[in-house]
Amino acid sequence: MSNNEKQLHIIVGHYGSGKTNFAVNLALELQKQGNQVALADMDIVNPYFRSADFTDMLTQKGIRVVTPPFANTNLDIPSVTAEIDALLELKDTHIILDIGGDDAGAAVLGRYSQKIKDRGDYEILYVINRSRYLTQEADDTVQVLREIEMASRLKGTGLVNNTHLSEETTPEIVENSFAYADAIAQKTGLPILYTAVRRDLLPKIDAKGRELFPVDIYVKTPWQNF
């Protein structure tokens, strides 16, 4: 598990690796542990499937949600709100920043990088998914991290193995990702802080001594929401 002394959790990764779904789950878990939690949607590249979609659900649970002013509108403007600066001043709150995919999405962190470094109590969680095209090999996945680090002017501090294949995820897909995650950990020197697994699959997985982080699926298509 992640070090809870860190209060600022920054979620980065390849497009579609599952950052938003992990961010929402992490927010709910931290809140369940009795913390004040805030989640900021800082995705400036993806028009749909973003944390802002869950504003109502999270707000009802007492989680503060900060979204770009134009998220889910018809205005295609990559903007962040000044509220992010206010958020980064908070000391008694777990802050989760859900960042857009790849280096293009991570560029938004650049302007905050000094502030984040000055705070000190942060972690950059790199979400990886072995089922995701273009990050199926450890070397390619490390390359994407390097691009993200360059764009964000921040170094990764931990890995989130979020390997899944949507509804077709099997225990084997998860188990077969362990060696992949280990290889990335070795190449980068970063610890694997979370191995995220869909809650219903937990009992079927041979965790091989790993602690699994159960996640529920929030990011869905319109026809899955009846």
Binding site: Y15, P47, Y48, N74, T221, P222, W223, N225
Partner: protein, 347 residues
């Protein structure tokens, strides 16, 4: 994979080495993806100065006989219409992808299906058609890219893939089956005569009206073959259906959910999902009239494909319409409500 990326990867695997585009939400990942991978396979990725430039580069590349593609979203497709007409008028094959967003005008960036009329009626000026494909899953987008290139080559006409923002942005598991790239002889291509043959001319200008009429008629004879041979549709629970929904793309996924719920409630609903929009699967609609008491067309528009459903039904059954527009996706519950209302009326 994300739908847009899958379209790009499939194009590569279908032998496309020439892509010309201009970024626009919600389609941009397609060009972004190809900008990364095209150079690795020695292909040409070019971000043009505008959509109009991009489609004319497609015209040039297609003239030389290579597989060429461009992609955009609704407002960008309007800009390409002139080039599409020239491509059709020059009997050139190519693939054009439209990841539809809300319109008219600049409209919005959320998913839409309001370009059906444009795609099927007038993708450019003049007497012309494009073969229009309407995938509904990321996997089907991949399969259709191969087919779109093959059919464009076979009939020497543009293929259009009419997707929508939802399909372009969503993630689904996808497989890339090993497929042979169909090599079609293109003796008409302007790829250098090397002193061994007469030079080829690719052109859409005909000085004599009679010449132009002959050319257009010859083209329409080919369109007839397309209508006979290339219609694709999927039927779901239509055999005994009282109410037959007709929907394509993302709307068909919503409709399928609604059909399943209706069946659970004892309402015999079914779904016809056109996979080609031009040519339109009118025979499937007509065959469904045997059991159907009513049709319900569901679209992310104010009602466009419903025209083709009405033409096919030809007054034999009532045809209802339900749609949302402006970037709003109808919910399965809304569609179910429509089915229940109609079913109350037809019992």
């Amino acid at each position: 994979m994300k739908g847009n990326e899958a379209l790009g990867e499939a194009a590569l695997r279908a032998g496309c080495r020439h892509f010309f585009g201009y970024p626009i939400t919600p389609q941009t990942e397609l060009s972004a993806y190809l900008s990364k991978v095209m150079p690795k396979v020695g292909g040409t990725f070019l971000q043009a100065e505008s959509e109009i430039a991009a489609i004319n580069m497609v015209l040039g590349a297609a003239s030389a006989g290579v597989r060429a593609m461009t992609s955009s979203s609704s407002p960008g497709i309007s800009l390409k219409c002139e080039g599409i007409s020239y491509i059709a008028g020059s009997d050139l094959p190519c693939v054009i992808v439209n990841v539809q967003r809300g319109g008219p005008g600049l409209g919005g960036i959320q998913p839409s299906q309001a370009d059906y009329w444009q795609a099927t009626r007038a993708p450019g000026h003049g007497d012309l058609h494009a073969i229009v494909f309407a995938p509904s899953t990321v996997q089907e987008m991949v399969d259709i890219v191969f087919r779109a290139f093959d059919k464009a080559d076979e009939y020497r006409m543009p293929s259009m893939i009419l997707a929508d923002g939802m399909l372009g942005q969503m993630m689904e598991p996808v497989e890339f089956p090993e497929r042979e790239v169909h090599k079609v002889e293109k003796p008409w291509a302007t790829n250098g005569h090397k002193g061994e043959r007469k030079h080829n001319i690719v052109n859409s200008l005909f000085l004599q009206p009679q010449q132009l009429e002959d050319k257009v008629k010859e083209r329409f004879a080919r369109y007839d073959l397309v209508k006979q041979n290339e219609v694709l549709a999927e039927e779901y629970l239509t055999e005994d259906a009282d109410i037959v929904l007709v929907a394509y793309g993302a709307s068909s996924r919503i409709s399928r959910s609604a059909v399943n719920s209706a069946r659970e409630k004892g309402i015999k609903a079914g779904l016809i999902r056109p996979i080609t929009l031009w040519p339109f699967p009118e025979k499937n609609i007509q065959a469904a009239c045997k059991t159907a008491k009513a049709f319900l067309t569901v679209e992310m528009s104010m009602g466009q494909m419903v025209d083709d459903v009405r033409l096919a039904v030809n007054g034999a059954r009532p045809v209802y319409f339900y749609g949302r527009t402006g970037g709003i996706i109808p919910s399965p519950a809304e569609v179910l409500g429509q089915i229940e209302e109609i079913s109350g009326g037809v019992k």
